[in-house]
Symmetry: C5
């Protein structure tokens, strides 16, 4: 997940310009049409937006889902068919948007971010949604179609889901996108618990890198997910005949979930920061311990080495009686050892009293 | 207390799905019915929710308390009996909710967190409450029934408590849940005082771990308790005939307590952070002290060892008069000692002047 | 000043329960009645609250001050006499309240905190005030009666003070409590200046402990004093005939003072935090300095000691002409010294160039 | 980009005083007049403001762009011609303004900041805009004219752009200024990724300097760009006939972009702060590693050196049988080696067990 | 600039008490009367407030400026003459006020802070202003009269300034006080740039002290200047006939300046904090570097010294053929050197590979 993930036009470009971003391995878009009403259910893959024209007049709900890298042409055709605003169409292509809800008359545009575990870490995929009285158009370029479970429920629900309006469909999709945060944060929680265990045991350089990695991912996720709360909140305030009180209740639940995910994110960030402090402290602690051993050894042996050095000097008793008479004492050698043992014992006592080992 | 403690359904599940969480040792729920009015008082254990039907019609207040791991069936039955919203029922099972107050018409749902000291630290238990005009349903899966003191007061109050409405019962339960924070924070305060004493004495690695542990618990409690303030505040703004001004006065007191607990929590967190800084400083201080001893010893003995090394060289006066003539001076050996004593004294004076020991 | 200073009842106790806290050396309360009007002034010690009954009917202002550890009975009697709410009475006994203003109909309850220098540091004492149209009841368990100066002014003011209503009395008491912060913060300021001088000089372990102590006291004071601002602000918004515009002007001044004290507190906290950073830096600095000396000495003498060690080896020219021929050179010994002096000079030059000393 | 970049008059100067700032290499201003309407398009360089008088009466839109260091005289002339307020004119000369929107009756003044990559890092250039019903005057002293792309679009747009009012022109210019942040933050993002790679590899002193440099630039950019959001927001609330709803939609997009840039800025700052922590930890880690090697070598060799020192003492067996009898044992020398090898092995085992290498 | 700079009365003093603060070298106040109208201009030094009585009745604007340490008597006289509120008069004497605007009916009191460079650093001087319909009274005890430039402009303006009301005079004085921040922050900016250059070069202990000093000054200035913004904002909302829209435009400019100064202050504080981190990192870096040299030298020479120690032992071949046979090899000595050179080369290669030097 890169630091900068916003596609943009060179400053000065006319607003609403549609330019496809060059991608390495473009996935051709699959356009799925789902048409439903209490007694109608139809699922179909269509080739061009124009193919869905016949269904637009009917009172049933039309859901068009575009999965993959949508081309500028397809987008332009959809735009003409549903009278979508060019600024919103630009935002579909220029992915990496900040989550938002834009109002264009009776039409709404929502951009939200779906977090995904991919290879090499976490990624967020922009999900774009247009909706009006009886239609919803969704765009996703996640690897797999994230909305398959919803289609499944529509197929199986035996009317319960199909009796509701476009507002409930919208809620279902949003709920799915927001709840995708739960398994992700569950995994983050496990990572944090692992890191904590490591920290209380023997932390090393890789612990530091993993804490940093976690903080980085939480920081980037925060930028992507934080405004989602506001999007749901703005939805709750939409005054439209197709936005029922029943659905508002569901959206409030969805809002609670987005708040809860932000609570988790903030707690985890605080936790990771605290861990960094503990890591730093424990390194200092270890340097301390090593220093203590070194100082102990050096402090004991350096004076002893000096003493044995003294008696290695070549002053000779032959020259002067002042020259190292100890060498000629009968108990000179044992005496020197005694002195050295006393010094060692004294130092050890001093260290022990100061709690140095 | 884990980092992630929210039970959730896989994203895409239909809202309101009731799935029991597998628990290791499920405690069968005990359903206690308490029915009271100024002149009525009845306490009874019931087997299924249906058993409380006869009491619902009466004007007296019905309090059903479910203690233990409630099954999805019981919940579904209760839901049908009291027309509880499926989203709220889901929140009872999916414990780990953020404290909240949900409004479903004239029915209210409250989720709050009861902090408990358990084995292995602190835990929070979700308490779920439904209430309407003349009934209150509470769910708790704490180890022991937390509301026994309330039932005790109802039994003994001789009418005073029983004269009041469901709003007063609700206040009593909430007050108990929120005040449960006081003994907990009193204990935290003692821990902090212990840690402080340790810090000013001889802090070690375990001090660091205990500070970290404390910060972690405060962080997790914060996530669980912080929104409780808002729940009480939202209650204060409910406009319902059964919510009296007298009870509002009591709820305001309850609100004050929740604010006070948050004040304590924030002060303790700041305190713990400050302690970490002091800990870090005191480790640096100790490294410093050890370094000072090492440097002192090394700086004094290294030059002396060099000097005695010089006179241990095997240059011989026999070869040349230039070769270590000192060895042949009459006072050579005492002179060398004098030189060494002077060097030591000079260094000690220098160190003392620089306040190194 | 402890971390946890809130007296509380076990969770589940009935609200309004009055329980005296066991204190080590209870000071029997002294109840002082002051009755005044423009032309009336009466001061009297009363034994029981009932003694003040005769004065209640008169239009003059009745001020009852209870100094010391008030008993539950006295409190209950006062409560009955003035119809004080039981929740507020509970708050008088359960001291350690968050500063607050509670409204009970036409009666008001205020809890504020008076900071005091005691032995062993700073303490805060709760001051509780009840007031209505023409009476004010105050409770204090500070060591000495803090309101004596006010009574003094009432005695001496010659009518000026006595012409004003209960609102002005309330202002006078609040102002005294809030302004008690000024001498305290002046002393804190001096402590900070001392610490700063120490920090720029030779900081040691005790400097760290004093900074920590200061931060701790500021943190606890913050919890006690911060909400006082809101209390004064809430007072300003009271709409009652006995609250005059003139007094509001005075209360605004009082509000300014409480803001100023919080400004001081926040500045001091930032300052203390900054000092901790400087302390940490200066320890690192000193470790550095000591290391530099050690490295200097070691780097110079270790090679020299090696050289003199070489010529202490017992290889003998007698065995082989390859064995240490230098020992047999005529200028061997002076040459070795020359080599050692050159090495020392080179190292010193190298260190000087790198600015190591 | 300096810390202080605000041109100002000495305190006490009359407001609206126009003083040219002395610049090292003043670029003479180029005044470009662009006049357009659906069927009119005219581009012209003019020498003095008076030259544009003939175009002012026409209903077409007049855009005057002054590129370069504008003189006080030109400014004064423009001011008289368009009745510009002297305070706003002063703000054009005293560049380094905080982005703002000032309202002078039906005339508006906007100051915004254009970020530029220059030699030696990032710079911001103030762009000043005056606009009214049918005119817009812009000032820029960036190195190259930033608005050339807009003029290009006006030339080529074949009427689409020209059909819109002065509000759309204003949006186009503002959008260009704000979107100039995107390429800049893309580059910052790359720098951050480089720094991160360095940090996980072998960070050195220059890494620290680069992180510091980045933080510094982000901090200064924040001051320059943060208030831009508010400027666009204030524009959205202007109630004037020439401010159409269509343009408001575009300005909302522009507002989204400015929010997104601030999100990026804040995320990058948090990231850079996190990197500093990791850098500090990794230095501590490295000190640790080096200490470990030193301690290892010293701890093994210091005792051995002491032992060989012992047998270098000149105690002689001739004097006393107590004097170093080991020297006369048949296997004395190999025994000493054995002892030394055992000591080394013991220490290595001890270190290995403590995971020191 | 001290931490505590608020003059205050002992808690319990009657509000509005006027007590002169004892100053070391009191400067006798100079009272300057300036009377002006479009066609009137009069400047005069007066001895006592009563001397200005004749001018009060006239419709022209009366500006009384008191420069120096005003006595309680003068203040009391002025208070009686202009009916100034005693609380405001107290605030003039008890300098060190938080900037504020107090409303006393149709009279206003403003306290603002003028930052000054004095000897020994920065100081702030309280400027107190009273104003009403046609008079303004200002108090300053700065060293020199800060308002001389304004009087200069009044003298020279030829009517332009004199045509305006008291509101414009007030703006002029406030603008001067607020703009006094610009030269100060320009100097701070230069200090920061110096510090930054030092930091990237060779930072030492004095760099730390200077950063600390700067942070301290910014912290204290923040307390003094931050509320000034609110004062100007409150002025903008005054609804009085003598407050014209034209002047409001000027005050808005003044407000912008105070916001800009706070922006600078906050940026500088963040910058200084960042510098402290870099300083800490660079000390750690340097400790590291020194450690590396020490370790290098020690690691190479300690083993070599051990080896030469071995051959200094007095084991004799005469006693046993096992005793140091190397001493008797023909190429023993060169062989030892070869071994030592190989060890050195090996260690150097090892260090180089680990990038230790």
């Amino acid at each position: 997940m890169g630091f900068f993930n916003k596609a943009y036009h060179p400053p000065g470009t006319a607003p609403g310009t549609l330019t496809e971003r060059p991608v390495e391995a473009p996935r051709p878009p699959r356009i799925r049409l789902t048409e439903y009403a209490p007694d109608v259910f139809l699922e179909q893959d269509i080739a061009t937006p124009a193919d869905c024209k016949p269904y637009l007049e009917s009172p049933s709900i039309t859901w068009i889902h575009v999965q993959g890298d949508v081309s500028a042409d397809t987008l332009r055709n959809l735009g003409e068919l549903f009278e979508l605003h060019s600024l919103a169409l630009e935002d579909v292509l220029n992915s990496g948007q900040r989550p938002k809800l834009d109002v264009y008359g009776e039409q709404y545009f929502i951009a939200v971010n779906l977090p995904e575990f991919g290879n090499g870490g976490i990624a967020v995929q922009q999900i774009s949604l247009f909706f009006g009285r009886d239609y919803l158009i969704s765009f996703s370029n996640a690897v797999t179609d994230p909305f398959e479970p919803v289609r499944q429920r529509l197929r199986n629900s035996g009317g319960k889901f199909r009796q509701r309006g476009v507002d409930y469909l919208l809620y279902t999709l949003l709920d799915l996108v927001i709840d995708a945060g739960f398994p992700m944060f569950e995994r983050f929680g496990e990572t944090l618990e692992d890191l904590e265990a490591e920290l209380l045991g023997k932390p090393d350089r890789s612990t530091l890198n993993r804490i940093h990695q976690l903080k980085r991912e939480l920081l980037l996720l925060r930028r992507s997910l934080w405004p989602q709360r506001e999007v749901v909140n703005a939805l709750l305030r939409i005054e439209q005949p197709f936005m029922t009180d029943e659905t508002r209740m569901y959206l409030r639940d969805c809002y609670d979930h987005s708040v809860q995910i932000m609570d988790l994110l903030e707690t985890y960030r605080d936790m990771a920061t605290g861990m960094l402090d503990v890591y730093l402290s424990s390194i200092s602690n270890r340097t301390n311990e090593i220093m203590r051993v070194l100082t102990l050894i050096a402090t004991i042996f350096i004076p002893l080495t000096f003493i044995v050095g003294v008696y290695g000097m070549n002053f000779s008793h032959d020259t002067s009686p002042w020259a190292m008479p100890e060498l000629h004492w009968y108990y000179g050698y044992p005496l020197i050892w005694l002195v050295m043992i006393l010094i060692t014992a004294g130092l050890l006592y001093y260290f022990r009293r100061n709690k140095w080992f």
